[in-house]
């Protein structure tokens, strides 16, 4: 803890203190309101700008700022061409699910995505499976965020990995536990703004250090012609383009942490505004940071392997291109990406346990749960899940980035057809959803464990295909949903 760059640490400490201050303010302001609705969805009061920023910030992880641009450094413009498919993520999830989920949540008094799944398919078992899948895969994703953020912190500031983990890891657990969803949304907004400022700052210094845009690009055209070819001389096969359209494009509409944003906004004007703002911001971030990764060739003259792999490209670039007193500001962006993803997942994971499992169980058993107890349990659950992931991250597992992608794909395969067909197809039923969610999760995990692929495509292609087949089989052979349920989900004149 003694050999680090103190000037790099200070901006981080101030930023983290500001995040905690926001959550305390939010908790204080909303002390009198309905706790469950307030803590887990911010009382459905988000405006368009905050909705856009929180959706983007939760979606953009630390790998978007570290691993992604590192790959762009290695592969070139093909990587940005692939990454830009993420511009669909915000308008798709809000355009397809935003209003439907909002209408249903108000009719059903639903607070979580699992509430809606339970009501649609009339199954506590399916709801429990959905909650389990959320907690399981979220823990994987959160661990990756903790590890990625702490490694970046250590590489750039010179302080230990553990010090980084304590500084931002504990901060995010504390502010999420205290402030709930509303604090998550507001801090996410700050994080998204900081991410954009960080990108501009880094780009500026990379251009300066590399002798200007003209100079860097002229050298790249001569020395790295593969960067200017869409397949990067074989480094970017078509299979990556195809699977990325599924993994970070189309299938992201079913990520529970994105869909839950549909429950949280105030009115449709806000939703419309968020679709536009979100698309602008997510494109700016993706193109901006990955382009910076390519321009980092002006700062780093070797290959990614010379700097310890693609994950070290951006940290090394920050250290070499930026003055020591601004290093702290530069890494707030990637760390903001990390903490905003963690907080977004943490609050949904907590709601899965408390709202979807415990409170539902108590209601069925006619057990009275006092508001004070709900409050205590909700805050405790958030803190315990966050604390558990923090402990796992203290001894980081190897292949952490693979775990992150595994979790991302797992969530998408589990929820994509269940939500899409469940909310838009009358014939969708309990058996179809059960077969789909349980069957495809097992198949997806098994193919991942065995390393089995078809045409060298990511296992999400197998998972999502099996999921559809199971859903259709179940829906055609299973019992139809009852009329009362259909009347709620598909009202007719």
């Amino acid at each position: 803890m003694t050999n680090g760059n103190l000037s790099a640490l200070l901006p981080l400490v101030i930023f983290m203190a500001f995040m905690v201050a926001i959550s305390i303010f939010v908790r204080h302001k909303q002390a009198e309101k309905n706790f469950v609705s307030n803590y887990f969805i911010g009382n459905r009061q988000l405006g368009g700008f905050v909705l856009a920023m929180t959706t983007v910030a939760t979606y953009s992880s630390v790998s978007s700022f570290v691993g992604g641009p590192g790959m762009a450094f290695q592969v070139g413009f093909g990587w940005i061409y692939m990454a830009v498919v993420q511009v669909t993520a915000i308008f798709l999830v809000l355009g397809i699910f935003g209003k439907r989920v909002a209408l249903l949540a108000r009719k059903l008094n639903a607070v979580t995505v699992v509430d809606i799944i339970r009501a649609r398919f009339q199954s506590d078992f399916l709801a429990a499976v959905a909650a389990f899948v959320i907690v399981l895969f979220f823990c994987g994703t959160m661990t990756a965020q903790f590890v990625g953020g702490a490694k970046l912190f250590s590489a750039v500031t010179g302080y230990s990995y553990e010090a980084g983990l304590i500084l931002f890891g504990l901060t995010v657990v504390i502010y999420t536990s205290i402030g709930g969803f509303r604090a998550v949304a507001l801090t996410d907004t700050c994080c998204a703004l900081i991410m954009m400022i960080g990108i501009v700052l880094l780009l500026n210094y990379v251009l300066k250090a590399g002798g200007g845009y003209e100079n860097i690009m002229t050298r790249l055209e001569i020395n790295n012609p593969e960067l200017f070819e869409p397949f990067s001389f074989g480094n970017m096969p078509w299979t990556i383009y195809f699977t990325q359209w599924l993994l970070v494009g189309i299938c992201t509409i079913a990520l529970p942490q994105s869909v839950v944003r549909g429950i949280s906004y105030k009115n449709t004007a806000g939703l419309h505004q968020a679709m536009l703002i979100g698309t602008v911001v997510v494109g700016f971030m993706n193109i901006g940071i990955n382009f910076t990764g390519i321009l980092a060739h002006g700062v780093l003259t070797g290959t990614a392997a010379d700097y310890g792999g693609v994950d070290n490209v951006i940290p090394t670039t920050i250290v070499r291109a930026m003055p020591p007193e601004l290093v702290g500001l530069a890494i707030i962006g990637p760390l903001a990406a990390s903490i905003s993803t963690i907080s977004g997942l943490l609050i949904v994971a907590s709601s899965s346990i408390i709202k979807d499992v415990y409170l539902h169980w108590a209601e069925k058993k006619n057990h009275a749960v006092t508001p004070a107890r709900v409050k205590f349990l909700s805050i405790s659950a958030t803190a315990i899940i966050g604390g558990a992931v923090f402990v796992i991250a203290l001894t980081p597992p190897s292949l952490i980035w693979l775990i992150n992608m595994f979790a991302f794909g797992g969530l998408e395969t589990a929820f994509f057809w269940t939500l899409l067909l469940g909310l838009f197809w009358k014939r969708a039923n309990k058996l179809g959803a059960m077969l789909s969610m349980t069957g495809d999760t097992i198949i997806y995990c098994a193919t991942q464990a065995a390393g089995f692929k078809i045409l060298n495509l990511h296992q999400i292609t197998i998972g999502i295909t099996c999921s559809l087949i199971f859903f259709l089989i179940g829906s055609y052979f299973g019992k139809k949903s009852d009329d009362a349920t259909l009347k709620i989900f598909f009202p007719t004149k």
């Binding site: 459905r44 061409y81 511009v87 308008f91 003209e214 698309t279 004149k493």
Partner: protein, 87 residues
């Protein structure tokens, strides 16, 4: 502004908007293919970048913004979501 009074009208609107969004996605995928792979053999360069790299990245982003604007400003309609959110 058209009023959507009944649940049936609101859900019908939402279904229609979801279809518009799906069609917008298909349109963007086609543009992405043509803008990137479709122009990869071109010798044209803009600011030292091959045409495919400009159209396939910034071009796709701009088209996505236009699509979002058309969806949110023209095709999507405001509707009362119902419920009592004030607690």
């Amino acid at each position: 502004m058209k009023k959507f009074n009944t649940d049936a009208e609101k859900f019908s609107l939402v279904r229609r908007e979801a279809i518009y969004t799906g069609l917008a996605l298909v349109g963007l995928i086609i543009f992405w293919l043509i803008a990137g792979f479709g122009t990869a053999s071109s010798e044209i360069k803009i600011f030292h970048l091959p045409l495919w790299a400009v159209l396939g990245t910034v071009g796709v982003w701009l088209v996505a913004i236009v699509i979002s604007a058309i969806l949110s400003k023209i095709l999507f309609k405001d509707a009362d979501l119902g419920g009592d959110d004030d607690d």
